[in-house]
Each structure stands twice: as C-alpha cells, then as structure tokens.
C-alpha cells in the first residue's frame, strides 16, 4: 500500500483567506503532519468554531466540522467521546477560543480528553474585519479601540498552564517545519494538547506582524526541560521574547481511560441490558 502524502489531505476547496495570511502556513503544517503520521483521512476529524482560522476544516480532506463561534472544544470533545478511535483536532481563533469560548478551555483541560487543540492566534478578529481580540497587543488601534486598548492582553500559554493542560507548545506560521513537529507531538500526546500557533493577519494587523514576531521569536533552548512546571511558568512570564517549541508536558491519565475505570465500577453489579434498568420500576402485585 502506498502511503499518504501531504497532498492527499487537500480538499480542493479554495481558501477564502487573504494572500499572505498566516493560516496558510498552519494548514500546510497540518497536511504534512498528517502525512508523516500516515493518518487515514477518514480517521481524522477537524473541529473548529467560527472565524477565518475556523474555515480550516473545509480545506482538509478528512472529516470536519466548522461549528459555531466559540464552541470548537465542546463539539470536539463530543466527537472524541462518541468515537474514541478518531484523531480529533480542534482549531480555534484567538477570539473564538479566548473570548466567547473562554469558558470551555479550563474544562476541556481538566478532562484531559485526548485531542489536539490548535489556536491560530493573530491577535485580532479577522473574520469580522479587525476588532480587538483578547491577545491584541496593548499598543494597537483597532476598529473598536480607536483610542487605544484598555484591557490587558491574555497570555494563552499561561492560561493553559494554570488549567493543568498536559501538553503546551507554541509555534509560528512562518516556521512550518517546527509547526509540523509540534503538531505531530501534540497528536501523539495521550491527553489534551494545546498549541498556540502565531498566525499573522496581514489584512487587519498588517504584514509587519510577521516581522515583529520574527524579531521576538526564539526557539526554546535544547536544555529546556518541558517536564518542569517551574521552567514552564518562567517561559509563560517572558515579556521580552516569544519562545517557540514544547513548553510543558506531563503525564496524566486521559479521560477516555478514566471513563473506562468508571465503566468497570458501574458494571460491578451484574448484567446491564435494558431489562436491568427497568427492573427497579416494576411492581409485582
């Protein structure tokens, strides 16, 4: 059998993305990661919310679900729990995942469901044409912050860390090779894996977003110990640079296995067909 190549995952639908958009890089990285992992396309489901970034599933020839704004994570969890054999990748924008969907992130994390959550972070609401997002840098003007931004930006890696996410990484759309590697590691990680993918919006932030990130981005040093919570905390507090790579990883039982334990406990009692559930309600007289 011939193996899958990156182009086997192309759906043929032409992206609506602007020329030069950072999301193309992530999409390519995803094709390559799938190919390297030799994932049968029908065994993959990519689940997104709404936004430029959330259009991604339509461009990949796997199962996909472009759901509603902010709900990539709960939909993805539903898919994974209903059919655990599926490789589930959740995709969200920074607005999608950190504004309207902010409440789902800590809960997906504490369930440690075995899925990969990729946040395409452009620091703006792209799809709605340029309003401030939770990760927009404080110095920017946007359509809804014509006089400057009053809120402090959110640091998604720090959030993930405090939520107990068991795999945390940061990638950059312009470093596709690294992004491929991070995605592969995240998919292989048994449990909930989060990647913040910096993915510039050339239209509503501008091309310079690439340069700014490039000027601040550094790969994590080879001696970075991703199993150290302290080190990860330090990285999450960096302000002078943007570290790329696997920031943190730890082992914890994935949800699916925890559920199995629950199932065993539940079944201790004996038979479990429908009649057993009906019995307590029967009155013989």
């Amino acid at each position: 059998m011939r193996g899958y190549t990156a182009k086997d995952y192309r759906s043929g639908v032409k992206p609506v993305w602007c020329p030069g958009c950072g999301d193309y890089g992530i999409l390519n990285a995803l094709y390559q990661a799938f190919a390297q992992l030799q994932l049968p396309p029908e065994e993959v489901a990519i689940i997104s919310g709404i936004g430029c970034s959330s259009r991604l599933p339509g461009y990949v020839k796997t199962y996909g679900f472009n759901s509603i704004h902010g709900r990539a994570l709960p939909v993805a969890q539903g898919v994974k729990l209903a059919r655990p054999e599926t490789t589930v990748v959740a995709v969200a924008g920074d607005g999608d995942g950190l504004a309207i969907g902010a409440g789902h992130f800590p809960h997906a994390a504490r369930r440690n469901i075995d899925l990969t959550y990729i946040m395409l972070d452009n620091g703006i609401y792209g799809m709605t044409k340029g309003q401030v997002s939770p990760t927009t840098g404080s110095d920017r003007r946007t359509k809804t912050t014509p006089y400057g931004i009053v809120e402090d930006p959110i640091n998604p890696v720090k959030l993930a860390l405090s939520y107990g996410v068991t795999f945390i990484a940061r990638g950059f759309s312009a470093q596709v090779k690294q992004a491929v590697d991070l995605i592969i590691q995240a998919i292989r990680h048994p449990g909930f894996a989060f990647i913040q993918m910096l993915s510039p919006c050339v239209t509503f932030v501008g091309r310079e977003q690439f340069d700014i990130i490039r000027s601040l981005a550094v790969d994590l040093p080879p001696d970075h110990d991703p199993t150290s919570l302290e080190k990860a905390w330090e990285v999450s507090n960096e302000r002078d640079r943007i570290s790329l790579g696997v920031i943190y990883r730890t082992e914890s039982l994935p949800f699916e296995q925890r559920l199995r334990r629950i199932g065993e406990l539940a079944k201790r009692g004996g038979d479990h067909h429908f009649d057993a559930a009906l019995r307590p309600y029967m009155v013989a007289s």
């Binding site: 339509g58 199962y63 539903g78 629950i262 029967m282």
Partner: protein, 583 residues
Amino acid sequence: MSEKRSDVTIAIVGSGGEGVVSAGEILLRAAAQDGLFGMMVKSYGPQIRGGESLAQVRLQETPVLSQGDALDALVVLSWENFFRFSTEIVVRKGGSIFHDSDERVPEDLPFPPDTRFLAVPFLQTAKRVAGSALTKNIVALGFLATWFGLPPGGFQKEIAERFAGKGEPVVTANLKSFEAGMALAEAHASRVRHRWSGVAHAPKLILTGNEAISLGALFAGVRFFAGYPITPASEIMEWMARELPKVDGVFVQAEDEIAALTMVIGASFGGAKAMTATSGPGLSLMTEAMGLAAMAELPIVIVDVQRGGPSTGIPTKTSQADLLHTVFGGHGNLPRIVLAPVDVADAIHIIVHAFYLAEKYQLPVLVLSDQFLGQRLEVIRPVDFQALSDQVIDRIRPSEEELIAYRRFKITETGVSPITMPGMKGGMYTAAGIEHDEMGRPTSDADIHEKMTWKRWKKLQTVEQREANLLWHDGDADARVGIMTWGSTKGVVEEAVSRLRREGFKLATLVPRRLVPLPVAPIQAFLDRLQALLVVELSTGQFHTFLNSQLRLPDTVRLCQRAGAAPFTVGEIVNAIKEVHAA
C-alpha cells in the same frame, strides 16, 4: 362505620426533616403492591433543606389522571409548616385531619365546617416505641394504612428495603413504629373502615416522568448524554450518570448548557444517539446551538422540563410557558420537531419516538415535559416495550454508490440525505453551521441558500405526511363544545371532561402530542365541528397563540389560563367548561 372506596387522596404536611416525602413514597409503593394505581406530587418551601414540605398521594383502582383536587385526609405533622401551603391544600367536605396530638390546633383554619379533626399521638408513639421523634412519619403511615384499609405487607416490605442501608436496629425501630401506628387507628374511637373493591392485581410500573424519560431514552439507544444541573430536570442527568456507564455509554457533566448541547452535537456527528435535558434557562442558552443541529442536519434530542419563568422564575414549580420558545425560538429558518408527552406512561412513548424522528429526519427534536409531570410519581400499567422496538432505528447511511461522489446534503424528495460518520471511508465531509451546498462546501449564494433552506424545511412536511399524528382524542362525536390542551395538563382535563360527560354534557377533547409539525388537517377537522372551543394552558396564552398561528379556531373561543406554579385542578377545569357551555 364503613366506607366503600375506589379513590382516596391523602396529604402529609410537615418539615422536610420529618420525612414527609418518604412517607408519601412508601404509601404509594405499598398501595401499588396491593394492586392500586396512584400518583404522588410533592411541594417544598424555599429552604434548601429542612423547610416545609407536602406530599399528596392519590390512590385509585383504575389509572390515576390527576393529583386529586380535595383531600380525603390530611396528616399534619406540624401546624407551623401547614400554613406555608394553606393556599395549596384543600380538604373535601367531610374530610379528616389527623394531627399530632402534642400540637395545639390553631384557630382560623381554612377547612370546611364539617371537617373531622382527629388528634393522634404520632410523636409520643414514635418516642415510646422507637425512642426517637424520627419515626413519627412511619407511625403516621401505620395509622393511614389501617384507617384506609391497606394491607400492611407492602408497607413492611418497603420500610425494610428503604432503611436496610442504615442497619438492622433502624429497620426494627421503623417497623415497630409502623405497627404502633396501625394500632392507634385500630383503637381509634371514630374509626371508619374503608373497603376497596375491584382491585386488579396485575404487574405495574412505578416511576416519575423524569425516570420515564430516562428509561425510554435508554431503550431508544441513547449512548451519549451531556447536561448541566437544573431543577426540575436534574434527575434525568443523575440517572444517566448512574446508568450510561453500565452500557458503555458516555455521561458528561458539562460546564454549562451551551457546552452540553454542543457536546451532544459533536457526539451525534461522531455517530452516537445523543441527548441532553434541561429547563427554561438552560433551554434559552441552548438556542444558538439548536440552530447548528438544524443546519448541520444532525439528530439530537433535547428534553425541557418546564418550570416557572421567565428568567430564573420559580425553579421548583410547574409551567407550560416554554411552548412558544420551543416551537418558534431560534434565529433564522430553523426546522425542529416538538413533542409533548401527556403523562408518565406517555413520556416513555414520546421519548422513544423523539429518537426515532431525530435519527430518521436528522434534526433537533425537543420534548416538552414540566415539573408537574417530571417529578410526580405514578403507578401505571406496564409499558409494551416490544411494540416500541420498531421505533428504535438508526440514521440512514449512504450506499456504496452514493459514496462515490458523496453529497452529504443531497437534495431529496423527503429532505433527508444519507449521512456518514468518522471512520467511514469515502464519506468525508465538513459539517457546518454556515450555509453550504449539497457537498457541504460553504456558500453565500442566494439560489443555493433558497434551495437548501427549503430542503431542510421539507423534512417537516414529510413528517406531517408520513408519520403518526400523535393526537389524543376523546369524547362525543356530536359535541359542539371542544377542549384543547397539551402536555401534563391533559390528565386533569380528561378527568374533568369525564366527570361532566357522566353528568350529561356533550364534550370532545383533543390533545396534540406532536406540536411541530402540527397535524393540521385532522385538528382542523375537529375544530370545524365545534361551536365553541376552550383552550386550557398554564401560561399567559402561548398555546392559544400557537393554535391561532396554525389553525382556524371557532368563533367562540374561551381561555382557561394561569401563569402556572400550581397545576390545574379538576374543579377549575370543570368550572371553565361549564362557563363555556353557558355562553
């Protein structure tokens, strides 16, 4: 003295700590073992625990239709708590009050003049035989058993089972209290002997509406439940938490209702029969996601156990005021099916049918229950699950041929298109809440939008044409006065109508159990025969508004409506029907 009985309504009132509800439950279960049918409703005060509580039990030789209007007997464990319910408690003329002899009877009680007051030493007896006030309720049960001619066996079995977990001494103390209670009645000066006739000893089921929904869903094959706690629907999720793991199903307590429903949608996409259950506030929160299921054409079932609204409203009390939201709520042209069971037995049928329709038509199906139905405990005839198994079906999958250039949203005659799921080779597609073409590709083209909108809408027509009408109908063919109601109010109406028809009134009743799509033709035929229609509902007029939106009502329409909280009584409906007749 001796009285012949085929219908008794008894209430027990006291504080939560006095075991009022346990006593009611034991009474109902014991009577069921003895061949009786019955219904129990409960009412609580605002305190989270230990506040006042009321259990009302009605026992009958035939299936019970309503909670019973006026009490034959009221057991008062403490008068203080009685007053919290004084507007809810009605004692029939000639009824009896059994009150604890240690408490002084207050003045100005709202009872009819000929009410019999019997002071009974519940507390003293409990202390005497069990050494504790705790079994006061069980003493009262013993008293009631003997008074109303119910054999002790069922009670003793129930008591033994209920307290088994607390150890032998507790069981013994309770059994002794029960017997002492019996003796109190036996010895009572004004004892009336009640005799039952025609009790049919046949197998029965005893369960609440919430349990019926849960059990029926399991029968229908539910394998995924995600929910968020909310009164009065929480019992359904608690049931699922306990039972689903036994059949390798998945239960998740989500972080909120939006997560619950979107997880359910994800699970359905993943191939599972999936559902959630909630009440008004949760349902409102689910509105957006309901549209996603309609647009992505995924089968899901949502149960709404209605409570007083709007907003947080009255979480512990009933209402029928989520109707318009379920039939019309949600932005855009959102096809959905709405079903409404009329009693506990029907809840099983309706939830099985809900999964059947959801899977067959790939859209959201809403099931409208309410606190009155969901939390009341009924003794009913056994349900013929065998007959229901035809309705346990799976969604239609594409043929090999259809998979060659698979069109997930193929426009078909019925509106339904074969669906795949992850793992199916060649069936890959992207589900979306965004408008899409037959392949599932996003589009903003007006023509495609037009076609796809009507494709989705078509399913409702197909349901109306091809599926059972689910109309409950009763009464005189030549009746000129008709009554329409829906949901849990049906039993009260049925009882009122039966009573009046026995008095010679000509009446006909129609209760739609499927509200969307409404089986318009047969209902219109029913309406066209009428001169006057009475519309009965617990809301400010939502059912009336809904009927108007779908049908041509007779010139004379009368409304029997209340905001809710307390369910209707038979007497209220009787009066309303008499007024229509007089008009």
